[in-house]
Symmetry: C2
């Protein structure tokens, strides 16, 4: 068993040059004559040599790998962003390590780990709430998408605008009793996110709607969250005729709740979702669509450019949501409910 791996040394000996030269050729350094370069490459090919990645990473102190921190792998919206991240990573010949922060405290654990080790060259953070106090002076470049964390570049979403669009859409359709369901600011607290609430309030105010306190709710991102809160809302003495949700899954759960109460979505109760994930389209769900994939892609492009030394063109990029009206808010539309 001649299992000895061939190294840069073998190549050097083969060609009759120093290992420095081989290294230069392999890393694309300019200071190598055309002739030597060719001879080296020929030998590399002949010996079927591949540089040892671990050794290179170690010597360089870089890994050609980025990390992505995601709050959950069960929420389609995040996965959509993740797809964008992966696309960029793959185009740029980087590797991608996933850090799942779906359990409380996990985010901070990951951050501490990353601060100590050199496992990744940079980090993309997805929709991470302020929950985790960051290690002071985090040593890696980070780009955040839809997250309020200290980062070199931040891609954020105008949630005020998003919820404003949804609410106004429902009001324009003639609804006067419009409820609003937010996500919890932070899984552990029950607080609302400020921005969506502002958008909702603004739309109501502009149309002189007086909203009872009971109409503004907080529910889990999941379909169960939407299901439950909808049952509550629809059994209120003065039940709303429209509900704007903060996730598509909430809205799907709501559709189910409406049915279970023998009411009809799009007629008795209008519903809007949020994020515009794939299933919203199938279900004929009106939604506030955000360019999740694009945000992930862009964030990662920016991070990788950062890693190669380019300064970012901007340190804050704002994405605007867009309203997509379908059957759940407007029964006249032809798109059928699933």
């Amino acid at each position: 068993m001649r299992e000895r791996k061939i190294t840069i040394k073998d190549v050097a000996r083969e060609v009759g040059v120093g290992i420095g030269t081989v290294s230069r050729v392999l890393s694309g350094h300019p200071n190598v004559s055309q002739r030597t370069r060719e001879r080296v490459l020929e030998a590399v090919a002949r010996l079927d040599f591949t540089p040892n990645r671990l050794a290179r990473d170690f010597a360089r102190g870089r890994t050609q790998t980025i990390g992505v921190m995601v709050p959950s792998l069960s929420i389609y919206y995040f996965l959509e962003i993740l797809r964008g991240v992966e696309q960029s990573v793959s185009e740029n010949d980087y590797s991608l390590i996933i850090y799942n922060a779906d359990r409380p405290g996990r985010a901070l654990e990951h951050l501490n780990f990353l601060a100590k080790n050199r496992r990744v060259d940079g980090l993309v953070v997805i929709a991470l709430a302020g929950e985790s106090e960051w290690p002071q002076q985090f040593p890696l470049p980070v780009v955040s998408v839809d997250a309020e964390v200290p980062a070199v570049v931040t891609l954020s979403l105008d949630h005020e605008e998003g919820m404003y669009l949804a609410t106004r859409h429902l009001i324009d359709l003639g609804h006067r009793r419009v409820a609003f369901v937010d996500r919890p600011q932070d899984p552990s607290s029950g607080a609302m996110t400020e921005s969506r609430r502002r958008g909702y309030d603004r739309a109501c105010a502009e149309n002189s709607l007086i909203i009872p306190d009971t109409y503004a709710r907080v529910a889990d991102f999941s379909w169960q969250g939407g299901h439950e809160v909808t049952k509550e809302l629809l059994t209120l003495p003065d039940r709303p005729t429209a509900i704007a949700f903060s996730s598509d899954m909430q809205a799907l759960g709501a559709m189910r709740a409406v049915r279970e109460l023998d009411l009809t979505v799009g007629e008795d109760v209008a519903i809007t979702g949020y994020h515009g994930v794939e299933v919203a389209e199938i279900a004929g769900l009106s939604t506030v669509s955000v360019s999740a994939y694009d945000m992930g892609k862009t964030a990662t492009d920016v991070l990788i450019r950062l890693l190669s030394g380019e300064p970012p063109a901007a340190d804050h990029i704002l994405f605007r949501p867009q309203l997509i009206a379908r059957r759940t808010s407007d029964a006249e539309r032809k798109t059928p409910l699933v």
Copy 2:
């Protein structure tokens, strides 16, 4: 700026021992006296020392990282498996690198890359068809789930049984014109997978159903695939009254198609999905449920155990699908359609 990183050397000097000893303590080697161990650990804590991961990986030739190859990040079923993989990885203090094979030829590229580099210690392969010819003698341990590839351990799914269950369920409900939609064996070819077809045929045969050729179809895994094929099936002269699909997304697309044709799901046309993803539950979709999460988790547990030297208990684990009947096949059931 005293930015010099502290190393194992500093710890050694601090305690007054050799670096070998520190290394032994850090790697939990047995041959260290209780006293020295304590003194070393104390110094490590005091200096806030963390071993350089890159150096360690390099010296050991291992990375404490596994890879997962997934055919797509857009198909919920795969993501469900991925969640299981991530869970195991996280429990075992490994890192996870994602290899997305959603473009043709990408799988083989990844494999070649992995064969050359030591980026990961082992590989989990998800639902990868035979499309990619593997490098002969792949140098890493691999465990496959729902995939027919050369692997140390294979977790497979009894798809024949799965489709048999779905078909028989529909027949038991009184349907005589039952259609079947498979996924393509391989994205590039239009061939059917053998096993599901066998299950379908068996159920039909047992009940003396004579099935026209036009009833067995192949369609893309996506909802668009199901949507399209359903329109075709339902405009056949002798249209089926029930359709068994190979993915839940296909089935959701079918539900939409049925509506668009002004028919009613669960009454005019019964539908079953496959995989049992989350949205199937919300939609009241009857489905053949498979333990995707468990498979991912188990596969990874096995792989990691393999990496630490334990021989696998079995080299082939078979999972059995299970039928979940809901409204789309049986209108009597209370679970409402979304």
